[in-house]
Symmetry: D2
Subunit: 334 residues, 4 copies
Amino acid sequence: MKSKICAGVYGGSGYAGLDLVELLWRHPQIELAFATSNTYAGDSVPGTNLHYVSPDSVALENVDVIFLALPHKASAAMAKRGMDEGVKVVDLSADLRIDTPEAYERSYHSPHPHPELLPRPYGLPEINRENVNGADVVATPGCYPTTALLGIYPLLVTEALCEDSPVIIDAKSGVTGAGRKPSLTTHFAEVYSNLIPYKTGRSHRHLGEIEQEAHKISDRIGPIIFCPHLLPVDRGLMTSIYVTLNEGLESDQMHDLYSEMYDDEALVDVLPAGEQATLRHAVKTNKCVISITPVLPRHAHITSVTDNLRKGAASQAVQNMNLMFGLKETLGLI
Amino acid sequence: MKSKICAGVYGGSGYAGLDLVELLWRHPQIELAFATSNTYAGDSVPGTNLHYVSPDSVALENVDVIFLALPHKASAAMAKRGMDEGVKVVDLSADLRIDTPEAYERSYHSPHPHPELLPRPYGLPEINRENVNGADVVATPGCYPTTALLGIYPLLVTEALCEDSPVIIDAKSGVTGAGRKPSLTTHFAEVYSNLIPYKTGRSHRHLGEIEQEAHKISDRIGPIIFCPHLLPVDRGLMTSIYVTLNEGLESDQMHDLYSEMYDDEALVDVLPAGEQATLRHAVKTNKCVISITPVLPRHAHITSVTDNLRKGAASQAVQNMNLMFGLKETLGLI
Amino acid sequence: MKSKICAGVYGGSGYAGLDLVELLWRHPQIELAFATSNTYAGDSVPGTNLHYVSPDSVALENVDVIFLALPHKASAAMAKRGMDEGVKVVDLSADLRIDTPEAYERSYHSPHPHPELLPRPYGLPEINRENVNGADVVATPGCYPTTALLGIYPLLVTEALCEDSPVIIDAKSGVTGAGRKPSLTTHFAEVYSNLIPYKTGRSHRHLGEIEQEAHKISDRIGPIIFCPHLLPVDRGLMTSIYVTLNEGLESDQMHDLYSEMYDDEALVDVLPAGEQATLRHAVKTNKCVISITPVLPRHAHITSVTDNLRKGAASQAVQNMNLMFGLKETLGLI
Amino acid sequence: MKSKICAGVYGGSGYAGLDLVELLWRHPQIELAFATSNTYAGDSVPGTNLHYVSPDSVALENVDVIFLALPHKASAAMAKRGMDEGVKVVDLSADLRIDTPEAYERSYHSPHPHPELLPRPYGLPEINRENVNGADVVATPGCYPTTALLGIYPLLVTEALCEDSPVIIDAKSGVTGAGRKPSLTTHFAEVYSNLIPYKTGRSHRHLGEIEQEAHKISDRIGPIIFCPHLLPVDRGLMTSIYVTLNEGLESDQMHDLYSEMYDDEALVDVLPAGEQATLRHAVKTNKCVISITPVLPRHAHITSVTDNLRKGAASQAVQNMNLMFGLKETLGLI
């Protein structure tokens, strides 16, 4: 390996791509070789001395790792190319997150473009670190699954959830979560002063991903009810999680459980008992911040927040990359 | 009675008071005689040709009705004075909403200033119209209870809720809900771009009010888990309600139930199946807008929204006043 | 004439069109027959019992007046059709605002589609009422020209401006001013927390319109320096105007001049001396609100605000329509 | 000198103080010893392992430099104490910015509390670096003067301004500029969706400071017309400056002039011709960003933006401190 890792970003002009570029540009072990953009090819890449290049114009021979911040389907094709050329791949799309082509098709309503690529390690290091270490290809989870799964992980591991009761996830996301492509949904005047539930019921694509990963940890969990909302802010994601516990744990023991379980995690903060996690705790940080509120002995309210573009996308991709190359996991992130 | 009803507003410079003044000023059967303000006495009352007067300077002999948009405790004292002088009273504070002094003290952590005034009709006309008709004194419910109770009322009446499961109310309120008194909590730079859970667990004062009224309709309801959030907008209130049904009702029957039950209610809109209620549906209207989303056969998600200053305060007060004087309930409101 | 005026709105799903529909729907002398939308044909028109129709499907035989809230060029073609069919036309586009095809081409960089239609009365009633009264076709001015011209009109009429000094117009507009068509410019995440000067120098299309109308009143005016900014709010438009006076007037006489000149104008408010016009003074009203601040004897600062969708578009169109049909000018507007 | 400079912050819980703490905490040559707060004494200092201390409880014997982010008057008293104890002082208040007690009293309407301290170097390094180098006490300019003066400095140095014409400064500031003390002015619901001119005419305190410093560079300048506005965002400050040039310079030469003059300045960016400086160019950076727009040969529009809490306060204070101790000027800032 060269002294620095040579990295490229595909989809470097979207919101996640822009944060990725910012993080990689100042990462001490990374040399950022290129960032692609179809729309902005030729324009300068903000905060760097690079110019966007067309994805087709890039040669990968000297590249060690590529980050894919592309739409799903386009991402799988590029992942395949990277793998074929012996380059490590950190995928931020959904294409490698779902374990089977069948499950992918259920959530994304069209066949997986490269089913032979599945399954791949699910890059949520706090849960799945051992599979990411040294891997060549890693799927970086979406913002909702990251925030929600870290919010319930200690209850899954300890099998403390009541199986007969749903886990309610009322989620609120800043508008960058909807991508940079203009649409009426993201028009300023439609979002401003508003709060909009969307893809309710069981229709949001991230629900399958949450269920898949939750059930890998434990099957002792009731149905997950997931309702996302579009929040009139630019970035930040809050999941408000309401759980019912079984007899194994009382709600006022949860704070100790979470504190202990995340004690060694540099990128997860459990707030002191009585403090509430707000959006601002996480925005522009690379952390997931969690607060625990016992409500009744068997009922609790957990607030888990991230920056949807950081721990929900770009910084988690860098965290995975660090592990894939055997670097310190938090290098360039704290 | 004189040709027009002569009305006065106490606390006319707070946010609810300002909306109340606006609604009463254009109400066809009301002559607004005065609006009080300690802070702004002498200043002109926005949108009118009145000037704020000090509350102490007002005589009530020619007044038919007073609206109290005062802090709790101050409100009870003024309600008593109004009653003593034979004036009808529409109270917007909490002082007359709780049925017993004991329950009041539990929620408000100090003795009720005038326990002899309790109980009074709870002015949520869609639920409780018969007690408001012709009454002399009515307590107008708070914004959270109004929005939440209208969101679950059809399930309470039909006893369709599973008693063993909690009713989850994840609520989000615009900043005017916190009042006009300056504080760090309402400082622009603290709220902007943020989302803040507050008074979580069982600590919010409105929880007792919600429970009291829900249980009057039916005891077949599990524990209510209520978590409010401060939303970075000026007005509007959304309650996201997650319910578990018993065997008596499937979630895909709920839309018909709600549509039928609210069919005659001019100030409650049930959206067509598949549409989601957003904050903007209710802001600057006098309505509660509700959407129903079946998630699983026994699980559903209800979104109920109001303008916290209108159906959550001022317009509901006017609606009550209309009923107290035998006017058309929606006069001046649609 | 039928008992009510039968009106139609072309372009009824854009932001100005939506406000127009709202105003016409509750106008006591109007029966709104249709609102067109290419994008939303078939959908219900918010706040009404109508459904959007395709513009091609509309017959005009029973229609008295059409409002054109269309893109420029499309508007001229429709205006021509309306005129040919004997229907009155209130145009909200730029197509009929510019007096000559040559001037139009200078500002809009393409030939006027129907030069034979020019010139038409410029529908800023406070300045130009006599030309609007009873007219068959009226061009409703843009939001920037309306707000700016009302802000300097008294100085133009009295020829009080120093000809050697520029008139500086620093303008700030809410995002609805940029239209409802999605673009990166209006993407929530691009506008939020930002403030963006645009079309600076002499490049904004409204500059020619402001100059044309100012010079009709008086040639004794220096160059107009106009700089618009995109403000992170949904609606409202502020022009901050900095003027140098000639010897004929001192800045502390301006407040009297403005107060007198606008004394009879129901839709222009001159604030008391010392008060500043804020965006909120005008938003959701049909008024232009003006404050005057003398700075030095020959220098003054004028703030003129409107709601860009109301007095800057829809309500001014209705005001013009009232005059065109001989109705009370403010009918349906106050 | 010890290996690291030992620093303390007075007023560490205000908005400027919080940014100062953040910058000093990660500054490679600073050891932050304490941050004071009357209101929050005992609470933890965000982002650090310190706790706020009461200002009275601090001993200065081992301290090398204190930063004063205090209200004016309180600041002068603390500056005096620091000087008496031989500690370097970086003052962020107005107390040391004005050269004479008389001028101070004109702007602040009360006598200077310690007239013997005046005058002190005005710490705008790009203009005044030589006086800051090695100084013991430096006054850090306010946000408006910094942003405005950097915007016109090249025209002052080259005496290119027309003396008979005013310099118009239309300024817009985020709400943190108004401080953290709660007031109705900074209440979320008053600012949201609004735009508010304030302290217009000649009443804003920063006007005298701008005039004082401009005239030190050149007397060939007309009157300064300064109008600030409160912008509904949390941070960022834009000055829109409109100038008239004399015969010595044409507006299309300005871009070269500015580019050259600021070429070596790491903390001032002149954008390429044709690009406009937006608020976002500066927010959360330590830079002043400037764009130049020629409008007519003698008239130009300059946009100068900063983060009011950074280059308009905290980062400029650190920049000054670096110079006072002979460190690299941009240490800890880029």
